[in-house]
Amino acid sequence: MSQPLSGAGARLTPWLLPLAVVALWQVAGSAGLIPGTVMPTPAEVAEAGWRLGRTGELWTNLGVSFLRALGGLLVGGGIGFALGLANGLSRTSDVLTNTTVQMIRNVPHLSLIPLVILWFGIGEEAKLFLVALGVFFPIYANTHHGIRSVDPHLVEMGSVYGMSRTTLFLRVVLPGALPAIFVGLRYALGIMWLTLIVAETISASSGLGYMAMQAREFMLVDVVVLAIAIYALLGKVADALTRGLERRCLAWNPAYAG
């Protein structure tokens, strides 16, 4: 309908709204419209970031959270991907495990926090377990669905043209399932942050969530808001990385090109 913007304009446009919100927030805070105890100004938040960055506290906590997120994603996503493949490819495996998986899926994984604390205390295992459990389901379900919805005509073509089972999987089934697997990955990334934040807020002695909770104890509103802003940025970074991967891997698909 309207002409798409080109070049730098197109890249900057999505940032106009967040920047405007920050500017408005700064003006309102400086003018005294928002009390500092309710919401610090962006400048104050940035200053808190600078302060914590200089002491190294921010980087330590950020690194700890990042490693937890990545570890949970790799473990849970890896298991989900493997089981999704197995159940998508094999009826036997599907019949054996799918019902169980669907039953567990309907338990909100965050409701397991008390149990997880009893099992693991507040150590790293607790966070890893919860994140892995959270990301497992979207990756499992979408991989499973992706494999099942590969065009049977293409699979028939492959076998008629003499592809071995391995070639058929690598050249026909997996690429066909990839768009669905990416959808699963995007969902999983959202759930990954959510789970980690909740877990760190409730039971941790380090990490971004812990940093925010500690700040609350000492009424450091600027640090609390800083932590929230970092979550927003991390979410954006994860999303951008997935988009980049999609564009590389799904270049053949007109829906993802450009």
Binding site: H153, V160, L178, W252
Partner: protein, 279 residues
């Protein structure tokens, strides 16, 4: 009427080669000895072939001989068993009874009704799928490129299938079917979804490549005009049996609208529609 036609056909099929000669007039096949690429086609013999799905016979006792290098069209109404016959000959289905004997060298290839290209592979890589296993990378590129050039799409080698038109996609599928130098090419209504002009271009291309390469061609279609334009011989399938087995004694290259072709087309349509034949 069908029964007598069948009996007549059965007699012919069981008779030694004299019968075959009878049906195939001694006209020179316009098949130049292909330079380099040419492979002798496969010959096919079906003996008492039968296949049933869910107790219903789809192919019901077919005896048939197809000579190496022959272009045979199989026509019939929807559900008459013509596609199943093709799949049996290709070995995609196991016969319920009887046997399929295929003799000669070269792979058997099929072109489907849909192009069935891998959307995530480039046009060149899609064509290379037809080479099967055990071919070096350099040779794959070289042979796939040559096959693409033969269907006039050399400039599309690096393109994604999604960017091609329907006719171009079907040409890529043709290149994929032919890149390995097949002995038998089965065509399962491959042009049904194309517009009329593109279809005629594709028919000419298929005929040209058949003349050049000498494979045995087996075309399943419900377009009688297409069958008449392309084939040496037309089989009309009815209720899982061969109801008519007609030679097409018209020299190539054939012109669309030729009186001999039109008469033959009329005769086959009359048969299919159950009208009394004027012939």
């Amino acid at each position: 009427m069908i029964a007598t036609a069948l009996r007549r056909f059965d007699d012919l099929a069981h008779a030694p080669s004299a019968g075959t000669e009878d049906r195939t007039p001694a006209r020179p096949l316009h098949r130049a000895p292909a330079p380099g690429t040419g492979t002798a086609g496969l010959s096919v013999a079906l003996r008492g072939l039968g296949k049933a799905f869910g107790g219903r016979p789809v192919i019901d006792g077919i005896d048939l001989r197809i000579r190496a290098g022959e272009f045979v069209a199989v026509v019939g109404r929807s559900g008459c068993g013509k596609s199943t016959l093709l799949r049996l000959i290709l070995g995609l289905e196991a016969p319920g009874r009887g046997e399929v004997a295929v003799d000669g060298a070269g792979p058997r290839r099929i072109m489907f009704q849909e192009p069935r290209l891998l959307p995530w592979a480039s046009v060149l890589d899609n064509v290379a799928v037809g080479l099967g296993r055990g071919v070096t990378k350099a040779e794959r590129r070289q042979r796939a490129g040559a096959a693409l050039a033969a269907v006039g799409l050399a400039d599309k080698a690096g393109a994604w299938p999604a960017t091609l038109s329907g006719g171009q996609r079907q040409r890529v599928a043709l290149a994929r079917a032919l890149v390995s130098g097949p002995g038998l090419l089965a065509l399962d209504e491959p042009l049904g979804a194309l517009d009329a002009l593109t279809r005629i271009e594709m028919q000419d291309m298929i005929e040209g490549l058949w003349v050049e390469q000498g494979f045995t061609a087996l075309l399943v279609t419900h377009d009688v005009a297409e069958a008449v334009a392309l084939a040496d011989r037309i089989l009309v399938i009815e209720d899982g049996r061969v109801a008519l087995d007609l030679a097409v004694p018209v020299a190539r290259p054939r012109r669309r609208g030729d009186a001999g072709l039109a008469a033959l087309e009329g005769r086959i349509l009359d048969h299919l529609l159950g009208r009394p034949s004027h012939a």
